[in-house]
């Protein structure tokens, strides 16, 4: 077993700027920096985390605890202010599936575009295309523009592309509300299959029930600090007492 994700002393501050205009920024500078043009907010504070290959980890916490920010650092969307994040192998996010979809393109074009955005090569998409369509249950509508899809069809296709990207590390952010009951079960089965195949899984979700079925390990975050790291059932229990207090 080797380390798949290594987070060391990660710090992230957000600057909440109140203006996007150059004029106001210059006025603020020449008037002697009076008042606060921006507010700082510590999103992550000295976070240490090591995830082994093949582990299934849930990031838990209340809203604004820094879970999604941490996930964005692992995917590379955000860079740390200090500390380091390192990953091994390809990391793919199911972070808000369908981010790369365009409404005016057909399902087929969207599969190619989204697949490429998630890091697949042309030949990989060609190879996986039938399997992607089959899993999504879109069938004959694959050549229809995505704008005519129902929201369920849309999410099914997006999820299907994402699970076919075959990365080593999977980041999952609140996507398990995909489609109807049968499709949800199918997604869950697929996720379990991925973890059985030795993929590393990092899940962010508020559905504690579901998370404890998928993951073995839970990390609880509170105001940007790791407050618990251990078995999933203990983590869930910890979060429940936390939030009932």
């Amino acid at each position: 077993m080797s380390v798949a994700i290594e987070v060391q002393q990660l710090n992230k501050q957000f600057v909440l700027r109140h203006t996007r205009s150059l004029k106001e920024a210059i006025v603020w500078l020449v008037t002697g920096r009076k008042g606060d043009i921006s507010k700082k907010f510590h999103a992550l504070h000295n976070v240490d985390l090591e995830i082994q290959q093949g582990e299934t980890v849930a990031l838990l916490g209340l809203n604004g605890s820094g879970k999604s920010t941490l996930l964005k650092h692992i995917s590379g969307v955000m860079l740390p202010d200090s500390g380091s994040v390192r990953t091994r192998g390809r990391v793919a996010g199911l972070i808000e599936v369908g981010a790369g979809f365009h409404h005016d393109l057909s399902g087929r074009d969207n599969v190619y575009l989204n697949g490429a955005i998630l890091g697949m090569t042309e030949s990989q998409i060609d190879e996986q295309f039938d399997s992607i369509v089959e899993f999504s249950e879109i069938g004959e509508f694959i050549d229809t523009e995505v704008r005519f899809y129902s929201s369920g069809m849309y999410l099914r296709l997006a999820f299907s592309v994402a699970v076919h990207t075959d990365p080593e590390v999977f980041l999952v952010d609140e996507i398990l509300a995909v489609g109807d009951e049968p499709f949800q079960r199918k997604c869950l089965a697929k996720i379990k299959e991925l973890s059985a195949a030795g993929k590393t899984l990092v899940v962010v979700s508020h559905d504690l029930e579901l998370v404890s079925r998928i993951c073995d390990r839970g990390v609880v975050l509170k105001h940007g600090n790791v407050v618990f790291d251990g078995a999933i059932d203990d983590a869930v229990a910890q979060l429940r007492t936390e939030s009932s207090r």
């Binding site: 700027r17 650092h73 995917s75 969307v77 074009d109």
Partner: protein, 297 residues
């Protein structure tokens, strides 16, 4: 997500989100191709004329300029106006196609990062892809205009030399690099200050008149004198437009019209260098700013 190349599980630990800049764009050619195709597909979505608009718009623009400047203001050479430019229509259009390309490329590239913010906030990919794709899309729209120009040139008795064709390619490269460099610069600045878009719009208006598209370069030299004229001449767009005049307009005339001295041996290389410097600067600024794109968008 790192680049598509490191697939093997034995890959070492790497820092996510740190890319190789424009080199990554080259590595992700397939994604670039799809992004460009997407833009082309949706551009004229739902319009009756479709791609025909790429011909209609520059055509109308050309007519307006030709009548207003060539006929009314007397830039066209005629029996009553022997000092005018011969074949003014070709002169004008060869400059217009190039500035149209630059205008479209830069204004779209400058908006590309904010416009694709939804994606940039969620998934890591080389963000240079978006400005580069904008320039690429503009290059595709440039082709039909170039076709119209070449057809017009043939009607005017075009007989270019090989060197002149090379000059046209060089002129295009100069302008394309400049548009990419400025696109990276203003596209990344736009994330922080939306004023950037307005600066670009202003810049583009100036650019149209700061190079000899509508008028002749000799007029500039007469008014400014040699010293200031050299400064005017350093502008890569000026050099690109003059290279286009040399390639498309000059071979349709009797060839006696004065061309800027040392255009090929000095100014074209100067243009290439200036554009390359802008490109390097744009890339540098972009890389300094891109680390905080996701939280600022």
């Amino acid at each position: 997500m790192t680049t598509a190349s490191d697939f093997n599980e034995s890959a070492s630990l790497v820092r996510p989100g740190v890319g190789g800049g424009l080199a990554d764009v080259f590595r992700q050619r397939f994604l670039l191709k799809l992004l460009v195709r997407k833009e082309l597909q949706i551009r004229y979505k739902g319009s009756v004329l479709g791609l025909l608009w790429s011909y209609v718009k520059p055509g109308v623009q050309f007519l307006v300029f030709y009548i207003a400047l060539g006929v009314f203001l007397g830039l066209e050479k005629s029996a009553r106006n022997p000092d005018g430019l011969g074949n003014y229509a070709v002169y004008l259009f060869s400059g217009i196609v190039l500035i149209n390309f630059f205008t479209e490329a830069l204004s779209n590239a400058a908006r590309s990062i904010v416009g694709n913010g939804g994606l940039i906030k969620k998934i890591y990919l080389p963000r240079e892809l978006f400005p580069v794709a904008s320039v690429w899309v503009s290059a595709v729209h440039f082709i039909p205009q170039l076709v119209v120009l070449v057809v017009a040139c043939f009607f005017a008795g075009w007989h270019p030399s090989f060197l002149q064709l090379i000059a046209a390619v060089a002129g295009f490269v100069v302008v394309a690099m400049l548009a990419t460099g400025l696109g990276l610069l203003f596209g990344s600045a736009n994330v922080y200050f939306r004023d950037s878009e307005n600066i670009v719009d202003m810049l583009l208006m100036v650019a149209t008149w700061a190079s000899p598209i509508m008028y002749s370069w000799t007029m500039v030299r007469e008014k400014l004198g040699e010293g200031w004229y050299s400064l005017y001449q350093v502008n890569p767009i000026t050099i690109g437009v003059e290279a286009f005049h040399y390639a498309f307009w000059l071979p349709t005339t009797d060839g006696t019209a004065p061309m800027p001295p040392n255009l090929l041996p000095v100014w074209v290389p100067v243009g290439l260098c200036v554009s390359l410097a802008v490109l390097v600067l744009g890339q540098w600024v972009f890389r300094r700013l891109e680390g905080r794109f996701a939280q600022e968008l």
